[in-house]
């Protein structure tokens, strides 16, 4: 006989309550005023306390009721013979070893390896074990093996990485291994420093029902962990004497209970440029700004570093800085009469991030190199002949962006216009009753900046004329005129995109260029067509790097990534690469030539906060009921019916307690009547 909830047995102390009630309360209800207690007080106190219990039967009944209730709550169950036999069966043990970079703090890694070895050396000959190393992701080093030598070698070979702690992937792997095992006893041993940042309570950590988990915390008490980290840096770009300068502002965070004074150094291309000393209040963040750095070329390596402390990885933050790229826009304008591209050019001149470079050419004089260097081509109300249409189609299919502003003169050769977003019809004259834009798709990236309230109103623009159009089946209408005709239609062609604007970009057919929404509209359309994204100065370890996106200039189908530790990894076109190290990654053309693109990898500074959580929280989340899980750990899985049957005693005990309570009531009433009578 055992108990599922033996802690409830502590309530047996409550058995003293009826005894005390019988001994004390009965006397307290009457007070006799006596002239003097002089003699009574001389009689030893023990002899006064030794009292008669008047109703032994009543007392016994009440004690029995309490005893039964406590036993019922303690959930007694019988261990059957087959389960007794199973409890001595073989074990399937999964050793989960945390190798996040916080395990490099002081002697945590050595303690963790020692704990893992201890778990492995405690295996019997019939047991099997797996070694799972986890950080942000989990890797199975050895899967379900009885070879103790292999297991120990895997533990010895493991090293802390630059990744952060995430328990969920590790528990998922452990759950899979345990679920596949045929052995009767399933155990997981979680060896970690149990950082709070590693588990958001919503992540599922559930192990199989019959499994048990043993958390093994390593590392000292959290209160004493002193650590500072560079958690971020912002780049403030400016232009001075036609050269771009960048001001770096680093954010330094303290995770220490004591104030710290640390030097913060800025290294550029391996040379220390500037060192600032900051005082960090406990648990707070401080910004440190450095003097502007003039960028001399692409791929400038900058590193913000702190003095070494117990946790070294987060003392450095690498940044790869390159001058901002120009977004080249080729505008095809008819020229001659008026200046149809005046407003467009003015709008593109204002752009800062990105900066635009607009080149205006007539449609019949478009050099091939100009077209190939342009990111976006704007066809501004011109007649397009078949040759130009073909070149534009190829341009778009190779990833370029095309903006077609369809005015009164716009024509497209009928045979080669099938890839446009819409087929154009004749002009619609609305000079008598100006049309307005309606049905704007604010959910689209192009109109994203207008999504918020009071962020721009397109309905103020009046349209006196536009081209009727019929959108292609796979095109998306982003805006319509109030009469329902498409105003802006988008279509993807090959790797590029085409936008068709069915009105002019000057004042000929509308007054949109005079409205405040014109400038963000043009910028949004061009950056969307160019698939422009603000380049990130660094990535976090564990993030995925797409060489094609990071280095679009590389023409080669196969790129090579050179990791900070010097390992070359070829990446095929379309493949991605996961950052695993801290430092600068170089993306090169596999053939050795061409440009080099630098990507900085940094650790996740959520890991810098060494505050631990209670390991029992993880255990509780992994096993729905920790007490029952521990009980099951002693036994093989059994059928739910048998399990229910063996634990049903509490039910009978509770029924008996209720019956006794009834008897107690009857007895008390009888005694009370007898007493009063």
């Amino acid at each position: 006989m055992s108990f599922l909830s033996p802690l409830f047995l502590a309530a047996l102390a409550g058995l003293a309550i009826p005894v005390l009630i019988h001994l004390i309360q009965r006397e307290k209800k009457r007070v006799v005023v006596f002239p003097s207690l002089m003699f009574l007080q001389r009689i030893p106190y023990q002899s006064i306390r030794r009292r008669h219990i008047h109703n032994w039967l009543l007392l016994c009944v009440r004690l029995a009721v309490l005893l039964l209730i406590v036993l019922a709550f303690a959930r007694p169950f019988l261990e059957r013979s087959e389960r007794v036999a199973a409890s001595s069966g073989s074990r399937e043990v999964v050793v989960l070893l945390d190798r996040s970079y916080s395990m490099g703090y002081q002697d945590r890694w050595a303690a963790a390896q020692a704990a893992a070895r201890e778990a492995i050396e405690g295996l019997d000959s019939s047991d099997r074990a797996s070694v799972v190393l986890f950080g942000t992701a989990a890797d199975v080093a050895v899967r379900s093996s009885g070879d103790r030598g292999r297991l120990l070698a895997a533990v010895d070979a493991a090293r802390p990485t630059a990744s952060a702690t995430r328990y969920a992937p590790a528990m998922k792997v452990a759950s899979t291994i345990l679920a596949e095992s045929g052995l009767p006893r399933l155990e997981a041993v979680l060896i970690s420093d149990f950082q709070r940042a590693g588990w958001q309570g919503s992540e599922a950590l559930q192990l199989p029902a019959a499994a048990t988990i043993t958390p093994v915390p390593v590392g000292g008490l959290p209160g004493g962990a002193a650590n500072a980290a560079v958690t971020g840096v912002s780049l403030d770009r400016s232009t001075f004497s036609s050269q771009e300068r960048v001001t770096l502002t680093a954010v330094v965070a303290s995770f220490s209970p004591e104030p710290m004074t640390v030097p913060v150094a800025l290294d550029v291309e391996g040379r220390t440029i500037q060192t600032e000393t900051v005082t960090l209040p406990p648990g707070e963040r401080v910004s440190v700004s450095f003097a502007p750095v003039t960028l001399t070329g692409r791929n400038t390596r900058a590193t913000i570093s702190l003095a070494p402390d117990g946790l070294d990885h987060d003392n450095r933050l690498h940044v790869a800085i390159s001058p901002l790229e120009l977004l080249r826009v080729l505008v095809l304008d008819r020229g001659g009469r008026g200046d149809a591209s005046l407003y467009l050019r003015r709008a593109l001149d204002i752009g800062e991030r990105p900066r635009f470079e607009a080149t205006v050419r007539p449609p019949d004089a478009v050099p091939e190199d100009l077209l190939s260097r342009a990111a976006v081509v704007v066809v501004n109300d011109v007649e397009v002949d078949a040759g130009l249409a073909g070149r534009l189609q190829r341009f778009v299919e190779q990833g370029g962006g095309l903006f077609v502003a369809a005015g009164a003169r716009t024509s497209w050769p009928g045979s080669s216009g099938g890839w446009l977003p819409a087929s154009l019809a004749g002009p619609v004259d609305r000079r008598n009753a100006a049309s307005r834009l309606a049905g704007v798709e604010y959910g689209h990236r192009l109109f994203e900046v207008f999504r918020g309230p009071r962020s721009g109103d397109f309905s103020v623009a009046r349209f006196f004329g536009y081209r009727a159009a019929t959108a292609a089946a796979d095109a998306r209408v982003l805006a319509r005129f109030d009469a329902g005709s498409p105003a802006l239609v988008e279509r993807s062609v090959g790797r590029g995109r085409v936008l068709l604007w069915t009105s002019s970009l000057d004042l000929e057919w509308n007054d949109l260029p005079l409205k405040p929404v014109f400038l963000p509209f043009v910028h949004g359309a061009v950056t969307h067509l160019a698939a422009y994204a603000v380049p990130s100065a660094w990535l976090t370890v564990g993030q995925v790097l797409d060489p094609a996106a990071a280095a679009p200039a590389l023409a080669a189908e196969t790129a090579t990534v050179l990791s900070p530790s010097g390992v070359r990894v070829p990446v095929e076109d379309g493949e991605v690469f996961e950052l695993a190290e801290q430092g600068f990654y170089e993306i090169r053309d596999a053939r050795g030539g061409g440009d080099v693109v630098l990507v900085a990898g940094n650790v996740d500074t959520a890991e810098s906060d060494l505050t631990p959580l209670d390991p029992q929280d993880i255990a509780a989340a992994a096993t729905a009921d920790p007490s029952s899980a521990r009980a099951f750990a002693q036994s093989a899985p059994i059928s739910p019916e048998a399990q229910e049957g063996s634990q049903r005693f509490w039910w009978y005990l509770l029924c008996l307690a209720v019956l006794l309570l009834g008897a107690d009531t009857l007895l008390s009433n009888r005694l009370s009547r007898a007493h009063n009578g």
Binding site: I24, E27, R30, V31, V32, S36, F39, I43, I48, H52
Partner: protein, 305 residues
Amino acid sequence: MDAPRTPFAGARFVDPVVLARIGNLELVARSVVDGFINGLHRAPYFGASVDFAEHRGYVPGDDIRRIDWRVFARTDRFYVKEYEADSNSNFSVLLDMSASMNFGSRGITKFEYARILAGCLTHLVHRQRDRVGLVAFDTGIVEHVPPSAKHMEVVLHVLDRLKPTKAGSLREPLRRLAEHFGRRGVVVIISDLYDDPDVVAEAIAPLRFRGNDVIVFHVLDPAEVEFTFADASSFEDAESGVQIPVVPDALRAEYRSLVQAHIDALTRRFSETRVDYMFLDTSKPIDFALFGYLTTRARMLRTRQ
């Protein structure tokens, strides 16, 4: 000696409970004492009369009204009659009115019993032309009626309106009274003497040293002596308010022996200091106490002669 007839001629045998129901203390005292004195005609202790003592030869300066002319007629010499009554003494009742006296288990509290006893004694003594006085005390002196032949009514009146409410002690009030009693007399102390016997004896001794005749009536309720309580209860001290849980059955024997030892100790200590001590419980008729008083007085007179 004929005593005046009263409606309560047999009052001295009446249960004190019944006497306590009679509000008029003077009536009670007179009834009890007069009946008591009537009964004493047959008593062997009547020699304690206060009337005639002796003849002595006339000396110049004596009041000629006191010359016994009959003796002069027979002997032709002047003799003067002397009376015991001439040596009127002070008689003071010291009445304990501490809260513990306000206890009674059979219809009469110790204080009521003590009040009747004080009234009766005062009345008895007043009939002998002694000066009567009264002191009521708890921790201090609450009421003080100086001894005087005219204070009988005052004493009874004061007795009538006393109410015991506060805690009491013997030592301090008796020490102050001992300084006060300049003239020798008879001092009767009525108390439940809830104190250590040595403390009680020490408190009373100063009175004795002044030459007073001290008689102590130790009044207790039968329940205090026999401890006849049945149910286990919390017992609360009437003066301090302290409560302790008590199971009477378990400690009755021990309690009784402690009370008896207390009485024995008091008896022994008082006999050592030549103080007359008499234990009374409130179930005893008043005349039992009066009888004890007179016996004591007779012994005093014999001793003096």
